[in-house]
């Protein structure tokens, strides 16, 4: 048994032109020591449990590996806890950290049956009518970008959250937090976009709020919108309803919005003819739902991209998801920018794409219904729901191998390596 410290190769230059050797000792990091303590406790507990169970001892190798894999599985299913003391940008990226924050802080405090499903909108009963209620905040930078602006996002985003819940979007509220010094002309532009978007989507903005904060806060303009809509169709849509054999579709090429924003920020010095895909999807969804009865779930792919939605499906329904890389539509420029930056389009935000889970037998029907609508011209069937392995999303790569598409740990940051 080794002591654990890696065997040192020849580190000292015997002739030594160097001034002295490397420093000895060194202190250790607090969080590492704490983690090691937890580890010792946990190992101690496991060994005690093993002894109590008095199980027969097969080959030591197998037992240890099984133990370790079980431990990991348990950790994955354990009650979420936020370990950080402060909020980081990861908490807003839409991946693992965001999920943990939502479950450990918000769900934990507000817990009630209407919140638990954590879908894009809450479905509530008001005097016999089924109503969907949703809210979203928009903090995009830059405010104006190819394909739209924060106003478009603010209306379309909320309309879409209602539409994917099976509701007909009706009314929106709009709350503005404005930075001191923000040009009124810019505000007018944004508001004009919102009105145009609202008209396109067939909704009205019926109430709102305005606050102003000192220069240096609110990055120009932050917008919050809330929306309500009426659910007229029977049944409930939800990712937990996905079952093996279901087909998964996406309404168009992925990653357009996120790449547009990254390029529009100007820090990366890339130019391309990509524009944001921000659009209202209620028309497309209405058309789809009227022609296909077997739709189980709808999700609009925003922060965290399509990959995040696929993981939500797998986790909520405890099923496997298998998608095929060749079938996933991605624009050439989005691919180029992603390759250049080392990011994966599957994790990049969209703002006008819906992911559909539908009864496998009706996949072709659903596809045809979507393709018949302008917002769904490039819709595609990208994969299936499987029984095994539960909770895991797999991708059959264009190359023919398979890999796992896990939840993102943070933002899809450009890599060099």
């Amino acid at each position: 048994m080794t002591t654990g410290h890696p065997s040192q190769p020849a580190t000292q230059d015997p002739g030594g032109q160097s001034a002295g050797g490397p420093p000895a000792g060194g202190r250790s990091a607090g969080w590492v020591a704490a983690a090691l303590r937890d580890h010792d406790e946990q190992t101690g507990r496991e060994e005690a449990r093993q002894e109590r169970q008095g199980s027969p001892q097969p080959r030591p190798g197998t037992v240890r590996e099984e133990l370790v894999l079980d431990r990991i599985d348990r950790a994955r299913r354990a009650r979420p806890r936020v370990k950080e003391e402060r909020i980081t940008m990861s908490h807003g990226a839409g991946g693992k950290a965001t999920q943990t924050l939502i479950e450990a802080i918000f769900l934990d405090a507000f817990r009630n049956p209407l919140l638990e499903p954590l879908e894009d909108a809450a479905r509530i009963h008001v005097n016999g009518a089924r109503v969907a209620l949703t809210t979203d905040s928009y903090v995009v930078s830059p405010l104006f970008f190819p394909g739209g602006d924060i106003g478009d996002l603010a209306v379309n985003g909320t309309v879409n959250d209602l539409a994917v819940s099976g509701a007909v979007p009706l009314y929106l509220s709009a709350g503005f937090i404005l930075e001191e010094g923000f040009p009124v002309a810019d505000l007018s532009r944004i508001v004009a976009s919102m009105q145009a978007a609202a008209q396109r989507a067939g909704v009205q903005i019926v109430t709102g709020d305005t606050k102003v904060v000192e220069r240096g806060k609110a990055d120009g303009c932050y917008i919050n919108t809330a929306g309500i809509g009426v659910i007229e169709r029977e049944g409930t849509l939800g990712v937990a309803q996905a079952r093996p054999g279901d087909a998964i579709l996406v309404s168009g090429p992925i990653g357009d919005h996120g790449v547009t924003i990254m390029l529009a920020r100007g820090e990366l010095d890339l130019e391309a003819d990509v524009i944001s895909d921000t659009a209202p999807l209620n028309g497309l969804i209405c058309s789809l739902l009227s022609k296909t009865t077997g739709v189980r779930a709808l999700r609009d792919a925003t922060r965290g991209g399509v990959a995040t939605i696929l993981n939500e499906i797998a986790t909520a329904a405890d099923v496997g998801v298998l998608v095929t890389e060749d079938e996933i539509p991605v624009r050439l420029e989005v691919r180029g920018a992603s390759e250049l930056l080392g990011i994966d389009p599957m994790y990049v935000a969209c703002e006008g794409r819906v992911v559909v889970v539908v009864d496998g037998d009706q996949a072709d029907q659903a596809l045809a219904a979507m393709r018949a609508h302008p917002q769904g011209e490039q819709a595609a069937i990208i994969g299936r729901v499987t029984a095994e392995p539960p909770g895991i999303v797999q991708l059959k790569t264009a190359f023919g191998g398979t890999r796992i598409v896990d939840l993102l740990v943070g933002d899809p940051l450009p890599r060099i390596c």
């Binding site: 050797g21 894999l69 890599r415 390596c417």
Partner: protein, 375 residues
């Protein structure tokens, strides 16, 4: 995408896979190391291991310049970033590497001005735009990236910029490979050689691996067919009892390397006597620092860097995992103290490190292998 898609064509993969399988001696296990983190990334991204027979295991090497930065150096970087009027600029990969009190990301959350850049030239741009600030570039990478840092310093010198410096953490690949080869319990049969490092240093520096250690090396490109072809070439060498250096990535890698690049490095940087590698300990002459002549661009000279060494915990067994001696789950702290969210050693820091990969994908691979071998 030209020069990319052709090398991702699945139809050629089966052919290569068949040829590779045919070269395996019955009953013999083969361990091939891909040194480079970029190769590891390709292997996982395209599911390349599905094409390999069970007899071949790929061992993921230490060629991840991000992962090998020790905690103490991260602490130094964060301390530099926290200096008054400093803008720290860094590649995206570094943002999440933990020091003893968190990463760049965590420091940013506390209000430190740390900005992500795609190129050191972007860092220069920030320096020009912010004359009242002192811009530091966190320079990391093997010999692939060092020339870019060097050229940036030369450009800064030509422009007479006085508010730009680099925190130099460039490391060199040969000493790391040598450290692996020198370990007494080495069990590797051959190397998939670094692709882009070789565009700079050429293929000659690997000759000692074949000559003194009798192991074949094939310098490989980064598309999946490149790697499969390189494995095929390695297996050919092994089956013929040869140990040579071959260049599969000849469309990009010149045998003699890039002289202009090497000159730029030589002009601005020199080797440190030793440098600590997370998980591998101290390795002599394995890293670069800024030359005296360019001292005005050396953050270590311009600022006082804490330089406190934070030891790898004794429990860390990255060294053995990197050499192919231990499997990730055999490391005592794997999965408990050391997880992707709280990575202790280099094998867990990178999402493609052997341990991170096993943590995320291990159970699935075992299931697939079990199913594949059941009948």
């Amino acid at each position: 995408m030209r020069f990319v898609d052709e090398f991702r064509a699945a139809d050629k993969a089966h052919a290569l896979a068949a040829k590779i399988a045919a070269l395996c001696e019955p009953g013999r296990q083969y361990k091939l190391m891909e040194v480079c983190g970029g190769h590891t990334h390709t292997i996982y991204k395209h599911g390349l291991e599905d094409y390999l027979p069970e007899q071949i295991t790929l061992v993921h090497g230490p060629g991840c310049p991000v992962c090998v930065i020790p905690m103490g150096r991260m602490d130094d970087a964060i301390a530099l970033a926290a200096e008054p009027d400093v803008i720290m600029t860094s590649f995206g990969d570094m943002m999440r590497v933990p020091g003893s009190h968190g990463s760049f990301f965590d420091a940013k959350a506390r209000g430190t001005d740390i900005r992500m850049v795609y190129s050191p030239l972007d860092s220069l741009k920030i320096a020009r735009k912010n004359p009242g600030k002192r811009v530091i570039f966190m320079a990391i990478g093997f010999e692939t990236t060092a020339p870019s840092t060097a050229m940036t310093m030369l450009r800064a010198a030509a422009e007479g910029l006085s508010n730009f410096s680099i925190f130099c953490n460039h490391v060199t690949i040969i000493p790391a490979i040598k450290a692996i080869l020198d370990s007494p319990d080495l069990r590797l049969d051959g190397f998939i050689g670094p692709g882009h490092v070789s565009t700079v240093i050429g293929c000659r520096p690997y000759e000692f691996i074949a000559r003194d250690y009798g192991r074949p090396v094939v310098v490989a490109g980064f598309e999946p067919l490149d790697i499969l072809q390189s494995i095929y070439m390695l297996m050919q060498q092994l089956s013929e009892g040869r140990a040579e250096i071959e260049n599969q990535y000849s469309r990009v890698v010149p045998w003699d390397g890039n002289v202009v690049a090497l000159r730029a490095i030589g002009e601005t940087m020199e080797l440190r006597p030793y440098f600590e590698w997370r998980g591998l300990g101290f390795i002599s002459h394995s890293a670069l620092k800024v030359r005296e002549k360019y001292a005005q661009f050396d953050a270590e000279r311009l600022f006082s860097v804490p330089g406190v060494r934070v030891a790898d915990p004794k429990a860390c067994q990255c060294g053995e995992v990197l050499k192919g001696v231990l499997k990730p789950w055999e490391c005592k702290v794997f999965g408990t103290a050391c997880t992707p969210e709280t990575p202790i050693g280099t094998c867990m820091v990178s999402p493609e490190g052997a341990c991170a990969a096993y943590y995320n994908y291990g159970r699935l691979t075992r299931t697939r292998v079990k199913e594949a071998t059941r009948s």
